[in-house]
């Protein structure tokens, strides 16, 4: 394995790891908007409790997600200097816009939302979660525009060996970017909805005293999931059609499609093993449509009473959408190989000229740190999802904000 392979593996692991957090962030944010709007309008204690319960899971997920994103941002410069040298004029623009238009505001507002309970006026606090959601989705748009450019370089031309921006509109409306975004957002909503349904089902299956509370969350997840699952699958098919023209080598290898392989004759091919993750993705896609419909039916018929064995499987489903999106990314990114900018810049040309030793050292440092934080954060999320007795609104019968004991520690 040489320095380029190592840099690729490092980026793949960081990006894949990052995306686990992204999927849940994008999936939960709109659900949180709904929960908090419901609370602000009705003023009911249990609705405030729901916003708190799911909100702290959102925050626990976001905090480590931002760290993995930062490591990626630095890796562009550290390991992939060739991309910026060749296509920095075009690729850099959406990256920069993501940072200043979206990410910056998202973080500012989320920090305020987290600490703003009972400090910032109710309506302004509600506005904050909408702003967080809006900027999170703007972020996804700009990142997909940057990625869409790598898949299908539009919006510019090559002059003196460097790609230059000529048409910003074409860059932003690249179908590789926008269709990819739709596909990904649907998958993220599916992730968030099944996360909510699965955790609620866990509590209901254990005969929680908070039955109404978790039934309400289960319903939200079970209604959103089938719609999101169908849109995810449809989004995949939409892309397959034109990818046969834009990237026949990818489709040829992924679907073992002879017609596309013939169309890609003479072009370099991505590795044949991408058909594996592709099959897993397709099977999981259909399976999740069925499981989402199952979740909806169970929710409608059971009312969470004597259906414990029917509810149990919903909890086991939680990891599947994460696996689904990872397989999708492997298809999209490995399927683009050996190109970094499709048809223009090969991956070995995109790598920085740094010592192999440096790449190994950075791999070890980031790999160990991120893996350790990932495990620690998983434990926090698991703990937050299993406990409701530390949500003051669920424990006490008063609507006013209870005085918070300092040592409680888990109050927000």
């Amino acid at each position: 394995m040489n320095a380029v392979d190592l840099a690729r593996l490092q980026f793949a692991l960081t990006a894949g790891f990052h995306f686990l957090f992204v999927a849940l962030t994008l999936g939960l944010a709109p659900l949180l908007c709904f929960l908090q709007t419901r609370w602000v309008i009705t003023g009911k204690r249990e609705h405030r409790a729901a916003t708190r319960f799911w909100g702290r899971l959102y925050v626990a997920n976001y905090g480590i997600g931002i760290v993995t994103g930062l490591v990626m941002e630095f890796q562009f410069g550290l390991n992939w200097g060739g991309v910026t040298a060749y296509a920095g004029n075009v690729f850099g623009a959406p990256m920069a816009l993501e940072a200043i238009v979206a990410f910056f505001l998202e973080s500012t507002f989320l920090g305020m939302w987290l600490f703003g309970w009972d400090r910032i006026p109710k309506w302004a606090h509600l506005a904050l979660i909408y702003l967080v959601t809006l900027t999170a989705y703007a972020s996804a748009l700009f990142i997909m525009v940057a990625n869409g450019f790598l898949q299908h370089p539009v919006g510019g031309e090559v002059r003196d060996g460097v790609f230059r921006l000529t048409d910003f509109g074409a860059l932003m409306t690249n179908r590789e970017a926008l269709d990819g975004l739709g596909h990904l957002v649907a998958a993220a909503l599916l992730t968030g909805a099944l996360f909510m349904a699965g955790i609620s089902a866990w509590h209901l299956a254990r005969r929680t005293p908070q039955r109404e509370f978790f039934l309400s969350s289960l319903r939200i997840g079970a209604v959103v999931a089938p719609v999101a699952a169908l849109v995810t699958v449809a989004g995949g098919f939409v892309q397959t059609d034109y990818l046969k023209i834009d990237q026949p080598a990818k489709i040829g290898q992924a679907l073992e499609d002879q017609a596309s392989l013939a169309a890609a004759h003479g072009q370099p091919l991505p590795p044949a093993w991408i058909s594996g993750p592709t099959q897993i993705m397709v099977i999981l896609g259909f399976l999740l449509v069925l499981l989402s419909v199952y979740a909806l039916i169970v929710t409608l018929i059971s009312r969470g009473k004597r259906a414990r064995f029917l509810l149990r499987p919903l909890t086991w489903v939680i990891p599947l959408p994460f696996l689904l999106t990872l397989c999708g990314w492997v298809l999209r990114e490995v399927g683009r190989q050996p190109w970094t900018v499709y048809g223009l810049l090969r991956t070995d040309q995109a790598a920085s000229a740094v010592h192999e030793g440096s790449v190994v050292a950075s791999f070890a440092v980031f790999g160990l740190l991120l893996a350790a934080l990932g495990v620690a954060d998983y434990l926090v999320i698991r703990r937050f999802s299993r406990r409701w007795d530390d949500i003051p609104e669920l424990v006490r019968e008063q609507t006013a904000a209870p005085a918070v004991p300092l040592e409680a520690g888990r109050v927000l």
């Binding site: 941002e73 004029n89 200043i100 910056f104 973080s107 500012t108 400090r119 300092l406």
Partner: protein, 315 residues
């Protein structure tokens, strides 16, 4: 023209980052010396609390705009100082992990572990940003050996910047907490003002010998002003006026960053992206910047005043 404005914007984000998140590094470095009890430890973390996300994200804006507007500079700096950035990003990850995870478990052992991790990571962050600044002061790297990033002058800059950040963090803590803990933080800041000023004077003196600065006079004046700001901070700290003291230490941290940028600006503007790309970025930035700054002002105003044990705490 466009290059100059966008360079100024990158400079604004980087300076803003080092002033704002720098106060969090500083708090991380000194907090265990301002009170040993669990209450004090939680208060010091939550003094940073509401600002933490909104402040650390300034670095994302700085690097993002650097990728978009100065791709060549970005590639040169990141590959040129590769080992420094690996350490820096590693420390960043550890510090953030510590912030998010430390108070999630009751176990005293786990909290002690994360307390130390935050302290070490914060010090390393401050020193490695100092190292980056020192290297930039010596000129944009041109593909030398990675070990070149550890020149004596860069190391001196790292030490000076680290010391400045610690003073700054202690002043921030003095402003954000009350009572005994505030007094201890202010005393700590005052004790470190003199070493920080001394190191800055050395940076200034050796700067003329070691560094290849394109605009030396501007740079020297800015660093000298940072020394003055430290003296002003010491006076305010002595009188127990913590708000103005923090403003002064903020200047002391920000001015050397501006000095590096101003000193190298003639070289840096030459590494900008093509004009079409700069135009797009400029238009978006002109729209986004007021919103970004308004958001920050809202953040500062909404959480003004010292943090108290009754306030909602997360960290």
């Amino acid at each position: 023209m466009a290059q100059g404005l966008l360079l100024a914007a990158v400079g604004l984000f980087l300076t803003g980052y080092l002033i704002l998140d720098g106060s969090a590094f500083g708090v991380g470095a000194v907090r265990l010396r301002t009170g040993g009890g669990e209450t004090e430890r939680r208060l010091s973390l939550n003094a940073v609390g509401p600002y933490f996300l909104g402040h650390e994200v300034w670095v994302v804006a700085a690097v993002g705009l650097l990728i978009g507007a100065f791709p060549e500079l970005e590639a040169a700096v990141f590959t040129g100082y590769f080992p420094v950035f690996v350490v820096l990003v590693g420390a960043f990850v550890l510090r953030d992990g510590g912030m998010w995870l430390r108070s999630r478990r009751e176990s005293a052992g786990s909290r002690r572990f994360w307390d130390r991790a935050i302290a070490v990571a914060s010090v390393v962050l401050a020193l490695s940003w100092g190292l980056v600044l020192g290297n930039l002061a010596e000129g944009v790297p041109s593909g030398g050996h990675p070990a070149a990033a550890f020149s004596p002058y860069a190391l001196l800059c790292a030490l000076a910047f680290g010391c400045l950040v610690v003073v700054h963090g202690a002043a921030f803590l003095a402003m954000r907490v009350r009572g005994e803990q505030s007094v201890r933080a202010a005393a700590l800041a005052r004790r470190l003002v003199l070493p920080a000023a001394g190191l800055l004077v050395l940076v200034l003196a050796f700067g003329f010998l070691a560094a290849d600065v394109a605009a030396p006079v501007v740079a020297a004046v800015l660093v000298a002003l940072a020394v003055v700001a430290l003296a002003v901070a010491a006076r305010f700290l002595g009188r127990g006026v913590h708000g103005p003291a923090f403003a002064a230490t903020a200047c002391a941290v920000g001015l050397p960053v501006l000095a590096v940028g101003a000193g190298q600006s003639p070289v840096l503007v030459g590494l900008a992206a093509a004009p079409e790309s700069l135009a797009v970025l400029g238009v978006f930035l002109a729209c986004a910047l007021p919103v970004m700054l308004l958001g920050q002002v809202w953040l500062w105003r909404a959480f003004a005043g010292p943090v108290v044990p009754a306030a909602p705490l997360y960290f």
